[in-house]
Every structure is written in structure tokens, then in C-alpha cells.
């Protein structure tokens, strides 16, 4: 009885994504569908309620010229890449306390990986990023 419960618990723990484990591989096609959750506020080529996502990778947080960032985002010492986006998109308000991005985040690591894989391609696509 006890050992069965323990085995179950261990299996559950093993299934949890550990901080250092390799992130799941992202599927950009599914990622594009997930981006539908962002389009009330964002688009690739234009600043809207949130800043544009074109040119996101390698960009310092809070650095799109002319966009009205929160002081928190403007001050954040973050450069956007797979790793930093993975953390931010899990819980924006935890990673950047005081952010105006009032969005709880994407809980599922696979969904985050898919979204980030798509963002990586789309945010540097010449076709999508020429306004």
C-alpha cells in the first residue's frame, strides 16, 4: 500500500519538468494557434496595447522606441531569448513585478515551447515584419 503510493508519487515527481531539464521542443505550427491568445494586445508588426513582437529575440526588455512601457519593464535587466521568454510567459507578473501586461501566463511548458518556437520564426520574418 505505502510503497505503491510512494511509487506513484515518485512517478509524478519524475514527470514534473525540473528546472534544469531540457525544455520541450517547440512546434511552431501549434505555436501560431497559441499566439491567438495574445492578439487582443499584441501584433507582430505594430505597437498596440502591448509592444510589437517583430525583432523580439535579442532585444532588451522594454526597448521598443516610442512604446509606453511600465517603469518595471523599462528597468528590467532582461534580453529576450528562448530562456527568458520561457520564464516570463509562465508568469509575467512574477518575472517583472509591476508590469502592465495583466496576463497570468501560460502554464503548460509544451504550449510555451510551441509559442516561443513560432515567435522566433515570425518575429524575424521579413514578410510579417514589414509594416
Amino acid at each position: 500500500m505505502k510503497s505503491a503510493a510512494l511509487a506513484l508519487l515518485l512517478a509524478a515527481v519524475a514527470a514534473l519538468p525540473s528546472g534544469s531539464a531540457a525544455a520541450p521542443t517547440g512546434d511552431p505550427t501549434h505555436g501560431e494557434e497559441i499566439y491567438a491568445r495574445c492578439v487582443a494586445c499584441h501584433s507582430l508588426a505594430y505597437d498596440r496595447t502591448g509592444p510589437r513582437h517583430c525583432g523580439l529575440f535579442g532585444r532588451r526588455a522594454g526597448s521598443v522606441p516610442g512604446f509606453g512601457y511600465s517603469p518595471a519593464m523599462a528597468r528590467a535587466a532582461i534580453v529576450w531569448n528562448e530562456k527568458t521568454l520561457e520564464r516570463f510567459l509562465a508568469s509575467p507578473a512574477t518575472v517583472v513585478p509591476g508590469t502592465t501586461m495583466g496576463y497570468a501566463g501560460i502554464a503548460d511548458p509544451q504550449e510555451r515551447a510551441d509559442l516561443i518556437a513560432w515567435l522566433r520564426l515570425a518575429s524575424r520574418s521579413a514578410e510579417r515584419c514589414t509594416p
Partner: protein, 195 residues
């Protein structure tokens, strides 16, 4: 006519609590009792309990998106691409967004904040809107995004009343999305859950 139900009505007392708490005014015994009965509303919410502006920020971001939606429907309605029944729908939905914006702005003010204002210009992809279905699909995308945005806001509010009020708007956006999908000939309710 829009039936004027204010989902934020429960906040009448809330804003008073906030005002008292934020102004450094001496609290009446009643106010202290009121505050004490709500000790840990912020517990477990990212963005920390000692950040009284957190809810205002979320509301103001939602307000910004609503103001953009109002402008988007104006573009759709003014495009000349919408036929009569669809045009009426667009204007009705625009009216709902106006009602959302109004109540969000009021609430931001009540909480002591300054509501964001509509921009003079919104960059809409008008060059891609060539027929009625393009306009409907554009609107559907915004409404679908709005459902997700409110869904993402609900768990962040420190005040539960605000979460409830945001959920009330979420329901309206979801209805818009379903009706627009129906008008596009798509499955109006494609999933049991929204994310």
C-alpha cells in the same frame, strides 16, 4: 439599447476601502473592521500584496484594449464592406465595448488611478480587409484574443470583485466571438474550454 447592468457595482464599497487605505487618512473603526475581514486577498497572487496599484494596472491595460476594439469596429462599420444585418451586429458589439470601456474607466478612477485614453490613431491592417468576411475574421480574432486576455486577467486581481467583473466581460466577448464565427460559417463554439 444596452441594458445598463454595472458588473462593477459591488466595488462601490471597495473603492472607499482603497481610498482610505491609500490616503493615509485615519481609519474609522468600521473601516478597519472592513479591511480586517479581507486580510489575504492578495495571497498567492503574483505581483505581491503590497502593490496597491496592481489591480489598476490590469484594468487600465484592459481598458486600452477595449478602446482599440471600439476603434476597430468603427473601421469595420465604416468600411462599406458590411451588409445590413452584419453591420447592425458590428455596431451592437461596438456598443458593448463602449460599455466595457466606460465601466473600466470608472473603476480605475474609483481606485484612484488615471484611465488611459483612446489613441488618436490605431494601426489596423486595413489593406488586408477586402470583403465582409475579411472584416468578420479580423473582428473574430480580436474578440477571441479578448476572451484570452480577460481569462489571463481574472486570476491576477487582488480583489475578488474585480475578478468577477472581468469574468462578466469575458462572457460577453465570448458571445461576440461565437456569433462572428457563426457568421463566417465556422463552428461557433469549437471547444469546451477557452485558453
Amino acid at each position: 439599447m444596452i441594458n445598463q447592468v454595472n458588473p462593477f457595482a459591488a466595488l462601490e464599497t471597495l473603492s472607499r476601502r482603497r481610498f482610505l487605505a491609500g490616503s493615509g487618512a485615519t481609519l474609522s473603526a468600521a473601516a478597519i473592521a472592513l479591511l480586517a475581514r479581507r486580510p489575504a486577498l492578495a495571497a498567492g497572487t503574483p505581483g505581491s500584496a503590497d502593490d496597491p496599484q496592481a489591480d489598476t494596472r490590469i484594468l487600465n491595460t484592459a481598458l486600452g484594449a477595449e478602446l482599440e476594439a471600439i476603434a476597430a469596429y468603427a473601421v469595420g462599420a465604416g468600411s462599406g464592406l458590411l451588409q445590413k444585418p452584419v453591420l447592425d451586429l458590428a455596431l451592437q458589439f461596438q456598443g458593448h465595448h463602449k460599455a466595457h470601456a466606460e465601466v473600466l474607466a470608472q473603476t480605475v478612477r474609483k481606485l484612484g488611478g488615471t484611465p488611459v485614453e483612446a489613441r488618436a490613431h490605431y494601426p489596423f491592417p486595413t489593406e488586408t480587409l477586402k470583403n465582409q468576411n475579411d472584416v468578420l475574421a479580423f473582428a473574430a480574432g480580436l474578440e477571441r484574443g479578448a476572451v484570452s486576455a480577460y481569462l489571463g486577467a481574472v486570476p491576477l486581481f487582488h480583489e475578488r470583485e474585480l475578478a468577477g467583473a472581468a469574468a462578466s466581460i469575458l462572457g460577453d466577448e465570448a458571445m461576440h466571438w461565437a456569433v462572428l464565427r457563426q457568421a463566417l460559417g465556422q463552428d461557433p463554439v469549437p471547444a469546451a474550454f477557452m485558453s
